[in-house]
Symmetry: C2
Subunit: 181 residues, 2 copies
C-alpha cells in the first residue's frame, strides 16, 4: 500500500509518500509545494491543486491522509488555511484516492511518543524511522509523519472524513441549472 | 464581455452568467451547485471544482467575480467556507479566467440601493434588472447580482485579489522535491 501524507498550508504545503511492504514502511518521496509569490489567490490555489495531482500521477499512491486542522483562534487564518485545504482535497478526490484525516497531535504522539513534540523532534524521528540521510524540511517531515502513522493503521482506521469514501466515483453534474434564454 | 458571478458555499454554491452588450447587461444562465449528500468532504469539494469548470466550458465567460467573505465570528465556519472557496477559486484560475472579488454589501448597495438589502429584495431586483420571468433562487440571485455589479464596472475596478492576475498562465512545477531513493 502506497500512502500520500499532506500537511496543507497556503504558503507551503508539505507532502510525503511512503509504502508499506511486508510490515515495513519505506520512504518513496517528499517535498514542499510553494505557490510562486506574486500570483493572485486563485492562481496560487490552482497551483496547489495541479501540483498535488502531479505528485499523485508521479508516485501512484492509493490512499491520502491529510493533517487535520487545529482550529485557530482567528477566523481569518481559518479561512486562508481552509482555501488551501479545499484546493488540495478536491485534487485528492479527483484523482480517485481514498482520503482520510489524522490530528497532528495523534500523529506526533505515534511518531515521537509525545503529542507535544517540537518540529525538530518530528524531523529527527521521521529521518530515523525512514532511514533518511538527512532530515526533511519541517512541512515535508509533518507530511511524512502523517503518512507513516497511516501506514501503521488498519485499512479503515483514522478515516474520519464525514460520509462515504467511495473510490473512483466521479462527481455528477449540476443539480439545478437554468440555461440561456 | 461575459461574466461569471459566484456565491460560494459548502452545501450550495450559486452561479450566474451575464453578458454586457453595448451598455446593456443580459442574462445568460444561472443555477445552484449542490454536492450530493453522503459524499465525503474531499469528494464534495471535487464536485464543486468539476462543476465550476463545466459551467465555464459551457458558457465561456472571460471574467469571474466571487462574493467576498464576510468573516464569521466562528473559525469553524470560516474553515468550511474557505474549503469551498479554495476548490472553486482553483477551478476559475485553472480555466484561465481573470478572477476578482466584490464585497456582498457593495453588491447589494449597487443592485438594490441599500447594503442591508434582504435576500428577497436581491432576488426581486435581479429578476427586474435581467428581465427574468421568475425570481432566481437566493444563492443564484446573489451570484447574478455580483456578476451584474462587475458588468457595470471598468475593466480593472473591483479586481482586488492580491497580486498579478495574468491570464492563461498555467502553474509551474513543484519548487522543491526529493525523488524516490
Amino acid at each position: 500500500m502506497r500512502i500520500l501524507g499532506i500537511d496543507p498550508g497556503s504558503t507551503a504545503t508539505g507532502f510525503g509518500v511512503v509504502e508499506r511492504v511486508e510490515g515495513r514502511v519505506i520512504h518513496v518521496a517528499h517535498g514542499t509545494l510553494r505557490p510562486p509569490r506574486g500570483l493572485c489567490l486563485a492562481r496560487r490555489l490552482s497551483f496547489l491543486h495541479a501540483s498535488v495531482s502531479e505528485q499523485i500521477r508521479q508516485h501512484g499512491p492509493e490512499v491520502a491522509v491529510v493533517e487535520r486542522v487545529f482550529i485557530a483562534a482567528n477566523p481569518r487564518s481559518a479561512l486562508v488555511l481552509g482555501q488551501a485545504r479545499g484546493a488540495i482535497l478536491a485534487a485528492l478526490a479527483a484523482e480517485g484516492l481514498e482520503v482520510g484525516e489524522l490530528a497532528a497531535r495523534e500523529v506526533k504522539k505515534a511518531v515521537t511518543g509525545t503529542g507535544a513534540a517540537t518540529k525538530a523532534q518530528v524531523q529527527s524521528m521521521v529521518a530515523r524511522l525512514l532511514d533518511l540521510d538527512a532530515e526533511p524540511p519541517s512541512d515535508a517531515a509533518d507530511a511524512l509523519a502523517v503518512a507513516i502513522c497511516r501506514a501503521h493503521m488498519g485499512r479503515l482506521a483514522g478515516m474520519d472524513l464525514r460520509g462515504a469514501s467511495r473510490r473512483r466515483r466521479r462527481p455528477r453534474s449540476v443539480s439545478s441549472l437554468r440555461g440561456a434564454r
